[in-house]
C-alpha cells in the first residue's frame, strides 16, 4: 500500500505561532517522504533546540529531539552506526550556525550521506527574538533594543567551504519547490545542506513574508512591486559539478550566495557527487562496513557468549610463547 502524506503526520498539537514559516517546511518534509515512499520506520528526523526543534514530534517517523547545537553529531552517529536509516537533521540558524557552528564545519569535512535542513529566520524565536547568526549587521528586529552589532554568516558559502556536497536554498512559502529540494537533498549521495528562508511572524518584522514577496522592492521601470525571490533554475544556472570544474562552480555558488535584498536566489547552488561520502571512505578502511555495519553485527551467541574474539591479539601478548 502506497504511503500517503497523512501517514507522516502525528496527532501531537502543533504550538508554532499562527502564520509561522515552519509549517511550510514541515509539510514539505512530509510530502517529500511520501513522494519518495520512504517507510516511516526507516527514517529518523533529528532536531536541535528551538521552535524548529519540535519538528520531529509532528512527523510520524522516528524522531530525536536533541540538544541545542548538537543535532549534527547525534545524527551522524546514528547514520554511521546504521547506514540503512534515512537520516534528516533539522534545526534553526542559531542552533546550526551559532552554538553548533563547529559541528557544521566538521560535518562538511566528513560528508556523511544525509540531509541537513536549516530553518533560517534570523532570530532566536523561542527565547523571544534575540539576533541569530543570519541576521544582517545593523538590522533592528522588533524585540532588539539596539541594531544588530554582529555581521551575519553566509550559510551557503560556509557550507561550501566546509565541504557539503549539495547546497540549496528554499523558501518556506513555496512548498512545492521546497519539497523538490528536500527530495534532492535526500537523494543526494553525501551531505546535503538545505537553507530554508522562513519568516518568523512574531519576532522578525523585517524579513517578513510580504518583504520576501516584494514589499518595498519597486521595479524602476514598471514602478511595481517585484518579488525578491527568484529561482536559480529559471535563469539557466546549473550548480552541478560535472567533471573538472569544481572551482568555477564553487565561485559561482559563492557569487550567487551574496545576492540579497532586491534579488534573493533559491534552488540548487552547488552539487558535487565526485567527492566520496564518509561511508565510502570508511569502506576503504573497513571493507565489510557497508555490508555489515555496526548495527547489523551480532555480538554474542544465544547464550550470551561474546562472538567478537581477540584470540590473536591475546596471543601476541603472551609471554610463554
Amino acid at each position: 500500500m502506497a504511503l500517503k502524506f497523512a501517514d507522516y503526520k502525528t496527532e501531537v498539537h502543533n504550538d508554532w505561532c499562527p502564520g509561522c514559516g515552519d509549517f511550510g517546511i514541515l509539510n514539505a518534509i512530509q510530502m517529500a517522504l511520501a513522494d519518495l515512499q520512504i517507510p516511516a520506520y526507516k527514517s529518523v528526523i533529528f532536531s536541535g533546540i528551538g521552535c524548529s526543534g519540535k519538528t520531529p514530534h509532528f512527523i510520524n517517523t522516528y524522531g530525536i529531539h536533541t540538544l541545542h547545537g548538537r543535532v549534527l553529531p547525534f545524527a551522524q552517529g546514528a547514520k554511521l552506526s546504521n547506514p540503512d536509516l534515512e537520516v534528516i537533521a533539522v534545526g534553526g540558524d542559531g542552533d546550526g550556525l551559532g552554538i553548533g557552528a563547529g559541528h557544521f564545519v566538521s560535518a562538511g569535512r566528513r560528508n556523511v550521506d544525509m540531509a541537513y535542513i536549516v530553518f533560517n529566520n534570523g532570530v532566536y524565536g523561542l527565547t523571544k527574538g534575540q539576533a541569530a547568526p543570519t541576521l544582517k549587521l545593523g538590522m533592528k528586529t522588533k524585540s532588539l533594543s539596539q541594531p544588530n552589532v554582529n555581521d551575519s554568516v553566509n550559510p551557503i558559502a560556509l557550507a561550501l567551504v566546509s565541504g557539503f556536497t549539495f547546497i540549496a536554498r528554499g523558501y518556506s512559502y513555496d512548498v512545492r519547490h521546497l519539497k523538490e529540494l528536500i527530495k534532492k537533498s535526500i537523494e543526494h549521495s553525501g551531505l546535503a545542506y538545505l537553507d530554508v528562508l522562513q519568516p518568523c511572524p512574531t519576532y522578525n518584522d523585517i524579513n517578513t513574508r510580504e518583504w520576501y514577496q516584494g514589499m518595498g522592492n519597486i521595479d524602476e521601470d514598471t514602478h511595481k512591486q517585484k518579488p525578491r525571490i527568484y529561482k536559480l533554475e529559471d535563469t539557466g544556472y546549473d550548480g552541478r559539478v560535472q567533471s573538472e570544474e569544481t572551482y568555477s562552480k564553487m565561485v559561482q555558488a559563492i557569487e550567487k550566495s551574496e545576492e540579497w535584498d532586491e534579488k534573493i536566489p533559491i534552488g540548487v547552488f552547488y552539487q558535487n557527487e565526485q567527492i566520496p561520502s564518509y561511508e565510502e571512505r570508511i569502506e576503504s578502511r573497513i571493507p565489510s562496513y557497508v555490508r555489515n555495519p555496526p548495527a547489523r553485527q551480532t555480538i554474542m551467541d544465544h547464550d550470551g557468549v561474546p562472538t567478537g574474539g581477540i584470540s590473536k591479539l591475546l596471543e601476541s601478548l603472551r609471554i610463554d610463547r
Partner: protein, 654 residues
C-alpha cells in the same frame, strides 16, 4: 623505616631520558624480557606534556612473587643523559647501580636546560650539603659514598667501534640505538640471558626487522663490552632465567579496556584526542577489523570528532541504533560532555564513557595522575538523572569490568561512567591471560520484532512505558512498528514533550527507580571486594577505589606478614552507592582509613554521607605521581603506631 618495606625480593629498574629518545621502547624490551624469563612485572611511565626533550622515565619492578605496584627506591638506574642521574640519584637504594654516559661526567647542573628551577634548587642543596660540586661528577661521587655502584659507559666511542665492526659508518642513524645500548648494559650487570634479550628486542621492533637487527647487534656489542670491562665489579643482584609463567600476558593499561570493548561487542567508539585517554581509541582503531567466532565480518567503527561534545553526542546517536557505543575521554573532555550525559539520562540511552582521570582542574597536570573526578562523575549534570559510576582497580579488572559496564548500560538503560585513570593507562603488568568467555553479554530488555499496533494486546509500542517495572523494553531506531520519539524535554510514554506535573512525577520515578533495581541486581563482587583479614573483628579497614588497589594490596601483604590486622575494601560500584554491603564489610572494624589520590578524600565523603560513620584517618596524595606501596606502607605503619595525624599527605615522586 622505609627500608623495612624492601624485605621482599623485588628489583626496581628505572630508565630515564629525553622524551622521544626511546625510553619507552627500552622499557618495553626490558619488561618483555623479564616476563619471558619468568618474572612478574609491574611498570609505570611518567612523562611531561611535551613531544621532545623533557625528562621522561619508566619504572619497572620485577619480582618472583606476584606484584601489583611500584615502590619508591630504585635498584638499577639506567641513563644515557645527565638529567636522569641528577633527578633520580636521591631515590637510589644502597647497593644499587647507576649506568651513565661517561662522556657526560663533567656536565654541570646548570647545563641541563630541561631541569626546572624547583628541581635545580633541590638537587643543589642536596649536593652542597654533602660538599659536592654541582655537576654530574659531583652527583656520581655522592652516589659512590652511598655505596652505589657506578657503570660509566662511553656510548659515543662504543657506537663508533660498533659501526666499524658492522662496516656501516652512518653513525648518525645509530645514535638512536643508545637507549637499547643502555638497557643492554643493565642486562649485562644483571647477568641476564642474552638470547631472551635479543628476542625481546625483535618483538618490540617487530614491524621494523632491519632496525630490530641493528639493535640486537648493538645490544650484544655493549653486553660483551660491559661483561669484559666490569667483571670485577659484580652486582649482588641478578635476574636468572626461570620457566616463564603459564598462560601469562604482558599488557599495557591502555590496551586492557579497549580489549574488553572488543569482546563486549562495542562496535562504535568516538573520541577527541586527549591524554591519557586517546590510546584506548587508537588501539581500537588500529584493530578495527575483528575476528568473529561466528564467521561474520566484524568491525568496530572509531570516529575522531571535532570536540568532546560531538564525541558524546555521536556515541549517543550510535547507541540509539542498538549498537553498543562508547566514548573515551579525560577530565577536560568529560566536562564538555556533561550536558549530553543528562540527555542520555532522560532518554534512557545506554552509553559508556571511559573516563581516564588525570590531574585537574582545567589542564592541570595533563600527563600526571589523580583520582579527582569521583564526585564529579557522581554528580555531573544539571537536574537529576540516573547513572552508574563504576571504577576498576587494575589492568586485569579493567578488561572484565569493561564488558560488565556495557551490560549495566543496556540492562538499566542509562549512561555508565567507567572510571579509569592515568596510573592504570600508563602502567604495564603481567597478568593471567584474559578469558574472553568469563563475562557473558546481557543486553537487557530489548525488542527486535514488534507487531503492528492493531495486533498487539497492549496497543502501540511505547518506548517509555510506565508500569510495575521501571525498565521499559527498548527498541532501536529502524525497528518496524517501533517508532518512538526522544527529547531532552520531559516526555510522555511515546517520547513527546509534556510539562504535565503528574506525568513528571511518574517519569522521574521511573528513571530514578532504575537505580534501586541496579543496586539490587548488581552482584556484591562488583560492588565492593574485601581483601585480607575477614574473621578478625578488631581490624583496621582500609577503604579505597581505583588504581590505588595494587599499592594497597602490596603494602597490606607486608603489614599482615608483620602481624598487623588489616583488611582492604575496594569500592567498585560508586554510584548508586552500595551502602548496606559496605556496612556489612566494615562491621566490627575498629578504625577506618580512607586512601585516595586526591586532595579532599572524595570517597570518604561518600562513605560518611551514606553510612553515617566517620572515617578515622585519611591518606591522600595530589602531586600527580601515583601512590607507591612503600609510602602506603609507611602511612599505615604510622596509623598503627598511634602517632598519625587524621590526614596524611603523601609526597613521593619525581
Amino acid at each position: 623505616m622505609t627500608q623495612s618495606y624492601y624485605a621482599d625480593n623485588s628489583l626496581t629498574w628505572v630508565i630515564g631520558g629525553a622524551q622521544g629518545s626511546g625510553v619507552d621502547s627500552a622499557a618495553n624490551i626490558f619488561s618483555r624480557a623479564c616476563a619471558q624469563a619468568g618474572f612478574n612485572i609491574f611498570g609505570n611511565r611518567e612523562y611531561y606534556s611535551n613531544i621532545k626533550g623533557e625528562h621522561s622515565y619508566f619504572t619497572v619492578r620485577v619480582s618472583d612473587e606476584p606484584i601489583h605496584s611500584h615502590v619508591d627506591l630504585i635498584d638499577i638506574l639506567v641513563s644515557f643523559d645527565a638529567e636522569t642521574v641528577f633527578v633520580h640519584t636521591s631515590e637510589m637504594k644502597e647497593g644499587g647501580a647507576i649506568i651513565y654516559d661517561s662522556d657526560l661526567a663533567e656536565t654541570t647542573l646548570r647545563e641541563v636546560p630541561t631541569i626546572d628551577e624547583y628541581a635545580v634548587r633541590r638537587i643543589s642543596s642536596m649536593l652542597e650539603s654533602s660538599g659536592k660540586p654541582l655537576s654530574l661528577r659531583g652527583m656520581l661521587d655522592y652516589a659512590h659514598e652511598k655505596n652505589i655502584k657506578l657503570y660509566g659507559i662511553p656510548y659515543f666511542r662504543l657506537l663508533k667501534q660498533f659501526s666499524e665492526q658492522m662496516g656501516d659508518h652512518t653513525l648518525s642513524k645509530l645514535t638512536r640505538t643508545v637507549n637499547v645500548m643502555a638497557l643492554s648494559a643493565s642486562m649485562a650487570i644483571l647477568n641476564f640471558d642474552k638470547h631472551i634479550l635479543s628476542e625481546s628486542i625483535r618483538y618490540v621492533f617487530r614491524t621494523k626487522p632491519k632496525i630490530a637487527e641493528n639493535n640486537v647487534s648493538a645490544a650484544n656489542f655493549v653486553y660483551d663490552h660491559v661483561k669484559l670491562q666490569f667483571s670485577s665489579k659484580d652486582l649482588k643482584r641478578e635476574l636468572k632465567y626461570k620457566k616463564p609463567l603459564d598462560s601469562t600476558i604482558l599488557v599495557q593499561g591502555n590496551q586492557s579496556s579497549a580489549l574488553g570493548k572488543l569482546v563486549a561487542g562495542c562496535r562504535f567508539q568516538t573520541y577527541y584526542p586527549i591524554t591519557p585517554a586517546s590510546d584506548d581509541s587508537e588501539f581500537l582503531e588500529s584493530h578495527q577489523i575483528l575476528e568473529q567466532s561466528n564467521g561474520e565480518e566484524g568491525s568496530i567503527l572509531v570516529i575522531q570528532t571535532e570536540d568532546e561534545i560531538a564525541a558524546v553526542t555521536m556515541a549517543i546517536g550510535g547507541a540509539l541504533t542498538g549498537v553498543r557505543s562508547a566514548t573515551a575521554t579525560s577530565g577536560p573532555g568529560f566536562s564538555l560532555m556533561v550536558e549530553a550525559l543528562g540527555w542520555a539520562g532522560i532518554n534512557e540511552v545506554p552509553l559508556v564513557v571511559s573516563l581516564y582521570q588525570r590531574a585537574g582542574p582545567a589542564t592541570g597536570l595533563p600527563t600526571r595522575h589523580e583520582q579527582g573526578d569521583l564526585l564529579f562523575a557522581v554528580h555531573a549534570g544539571h537536574g537529576e538523572f540516573p547513572r552508574i559510576v563504576f571504577s576498576s582497580g587494575d589492568i586485569e579488572e579493567s578488561f572484565y569490568d569493561t564488558i560488565k559496564v556495557f551490560n549495566f548500560a543496556e540492562k538499566y538503560q542509562m549512561p555508565v561512567i567507567h572510571l579509569l585513570d592515568k596510573a592504570i593507562a600508563n602502567s604495564v603488568a603481567t597478568c593471567r591471560n584474559f578469558d574472553q568467555h568469563r563475562v557473558k553479554i546481557d543486553r537487557g530488555q530489548i525488542v527486535n520484532k514488534i507487531p503492528p499496533a492493531d495486533q498487539r494486546v497492549d496497543g502501540k509500542y511505547l518506548r517509555f512505558k510506565l508500569g510495575g517495572n521501571p525498565i521499559s523494553p527498548r527498541a532501536m531506531l529502524g525497528t518496524q512498528n517501533g517508532i518512538f520519539w526522544n527529547t531532552g524535554d520531559e516526555h510522555t510514554e511515546e517520547g513527546h514533550i509534556t510539562e504535565d506535573p503528574y506525568n513528571r512525577i511518574n517519569m522521574m520515578d521511573k528513571r530514578m527507580r532504575k537505580l534501586d533495581v541496579a543496586l539490587a541486581e548488581i552482584p556484591n563482587e562488583d560492588k565492593a571486594i574485601a581483601y585480607g583479614n575477614n574473621e578478625d573483628q578488631e581490624v583496621i579497614s582500609v577503604l579505597s577505589w581505583g588504581s590505588t588497589k595494587g599499592s594497597i594490596l602490596d603494602a597490606l601483604n607486608q603489614l599482615n606478614r608483620e602481624g598487623e590486622k588489616m583488611r582492604f575494601i575496594q569500592l567498585r560500584l560508586l554510584h548508586p552507592f552500595p551502602a548496606s554491603l559496605l556496612e556489612t564489610l566494615i562491621r566490627g572494624s575498629k578504625i577506618l582509613v580512607d586512601i585516595e589520590m586526591n586532595y579532599s578524600s572524595q570517597l570518604a565523603s561518600l562513605v560518611e554521607q551514606h553510612l553515617k560513620r566517620e572515617i578515622d584517618y585519611t591518606v591522600v596524595k595530589y602531586n600527580g605521581r601515583p601512590m607507591s606501596s612503600s609510602e602506603i606502607y609507611n602511612a599505615l605503619k604510622l596509623i598503627t603506631s598511634g602517632n598519625a595525624p587524621r590526614r596524611q599527605v603523601l609526597e613521593y615522586g619525581t
